[in-house]
């Protein structure tokens, strides 16, 4: 194994000089720098991570904690996780993946041992058990999601209320008067992450402003559950001409059932989805959708976190503005009813 001392000897300088070349924390003459860098190359030197962490009390590792409940199928999480890892590298950080399995104790362990310099919590619940531990640890942290009590934390999330509002507005402007919302599975509401509620609240408020009637049905992402919900909806409100779908797993079943039902999209029924772009594009119909900007959220979270690690104490809530993209699944409300 090649050490700093080896490099120093090879380059004919002291160890500290090599260290300063590496970190740039003191001015080093161009010639020395070049010489040291050549030695590093020739010897194939890699600084030892442990020694570095010990001496500098910085590990250059960010912990990323996955949702506490892993019982759900959430591709968005994967997208965020990968984006976090990729973006963290650009700041010189590696990412440690913590699963929900270990529970809140993982926060204490990772932070207490100095394994991670900072932590990102995904899918934060309104009253999240990890938050008190985190607050007390005093480590830089960024939450993805919005807990009930945000004081002391930096939060990054999509502005779900506005996302819901955009859906309502879009359908209202197309002339629809009655719409139905296929909500997330009941389990999602029980988890109390809040985003589902914020979406529907935002949607309702905007709908009211436009005189749009809204029927909201939480729904599992299975074919059977959706068939049931759909039957109910059309029984209670036969005049529904628009759907807003929050549960991405319900999308294909919905389109498929509408087709069976001889209701054409978008001629008879308009569908607007809240989902990642990929999902909107890959189905049987190119869906009008409000995109969940997973990468941008990840980028934001990492940027915030890094600036906190560097001591810039900001403590804010960042709500990313959603954007509605019109595609082939929405159109004017059918005339004459």
């Amino acid at each position: 194994m090649v050490t700093l001392a080896d490099v120093a000897q090879h380059a004919g300088v002291s160890a500290s000089t090599v260290s300063y070349v590496l970190s740039g924390k003191r001015t080093i003459s161009e010639v020395t720098k070049q010489r040291v860098e050549r030695s590093i190359q020739e010897l194939g030197y890699h600084p030892n991570a442990g020694a570095r962490a010990l001496a500098s009390s910085r590990s250059n590792i960010i912990a990323l904690m996955m949702p506490l409940r892993t019982d759900m199928y959430v591709p968005v999480m994967m997208e965020i996780a990968i984006a976090v890892a990729t973006h963290a590298r650009e700041h010189g950080f590696d990412v440690l993946m913590l699963t929900g399995e270990e529970g809140p104790a993982a926060v204490r362990r990772v932070v207490g041992s100095g394994l991670a310099d900072a932590i990102i919590l995904m899918d934060v619940e309104l009253d999240d058990a990890r938050l008190p531990l985190l607050r007390e640890s005093g480590r830089p942290a960024v939450l993805i999601g919005l807990p009930a009590q945000t004081t002391g934390f930096t939060c990054v999330d999509l502005d779900f209320a506005e996302a819901g509002a955009l859906c309502a507005e879009h359908l209202a402007q197309l002339g629809h008067r009655q719409i139905a919302v296929i909500g997330e599975a009941p389990a999602v509401y029980e988890r109390k992450t809040g985003f589902a509620e914020r979406t529907i609240d935002g949607l309702r408020t905007r709908a009211l402003q436009h005189g749009l009637r809204v029927l909201h049905r939480p729904c599992e992402g299975t074919y059977a559950a959706l068939a049931g919900a759909l039957g109910q909806i059309f029984t209670e409100r036969p005049d529904v001409t628009g759907f807003v779908v929050q549960n991405e797993q319900a999308l294909e079943p919905l389109l498929s059932l509408l087709r069976q039902d001889r209701r054409a999209v978008p001629e008879d029924i308009s569908v607007v989805a809240v989902c990642p772009e990929q999902v909107a594009l890959q189905g049987s119909v190119r869906l009008t959708s409000v995109t969940i900007p997973a990468r941008e959220m990840a980028r934001h979270a990492v940027d915030r976190l890094v600036s906190k690690i560097d001591g810039q104490a900001d403590e804010e809530v960042f709500l990313l503005a959603p954007e509605l993209v019109v595609r082939a699944s929405s159109g004017p409300a059918p005339a004459g009813r």
Copy 2:
């Protein structure tokens, strides 16, 4: 920050004694052990990860490298990643997530710096650029997937050939004589991970033994692509009564199109999928499927890796045996044709 020395002083013993209590590497009397443990509790001591890594040259971190190409939508990867992280914790390891973005150099960096004790490579390609670096580093490694040249590596993968064979066998035993395979997207074949080929090879071989005719069509997971493929298949082989679907994204489109086409599943057409269990269960029809046992693969990979870290040099290829579960999408071939 509480250190080992603080604990030692508080318990009235030497630092090394505390260390031995923690590691169990030397016998310590029951009374001393208790006293030390109480001090640890009272002071809220957490061993410093960096110092530990430096002194022991073991970081207790496993690096998990994601697929090089992230352009695909692969829930299975997420399942494996989470299972790896969870299972690694049971062995006292944390998991560092490396993305494909950084490329093969990530291997050198992580391994060279001693950041990770070992590495798991996911989605290994037949001729993977990361393998030479890994081999030369000499670090324990486990590959998920099967490269062309396995010498020197431990590999864990599903026995895809057998998975394909099971599908053929199942359909043959139900009396089908002509089947079609909806393969992975062409891009998957171009990536040369080999599993798609192994599946179809295994399927073909077994089909031959049973006198089953096979038509193989790679296919994107979009509705449009599938509609095209399906049209072709029924034109070329109107007597096809069974489908094997390898591309999980093609499943819902297929079922939906068959329905539109007035072909009943499983009365007219049997469908067998190769996919994670969750996917088989959540669609409009409960699918007969060969499950991809993501968790078991992860468990195996971690177990192998840990025993390699502990110096038990094994260097083998583990192919997990697939299992076909009969559900509602397959049945006897329609009589009288």
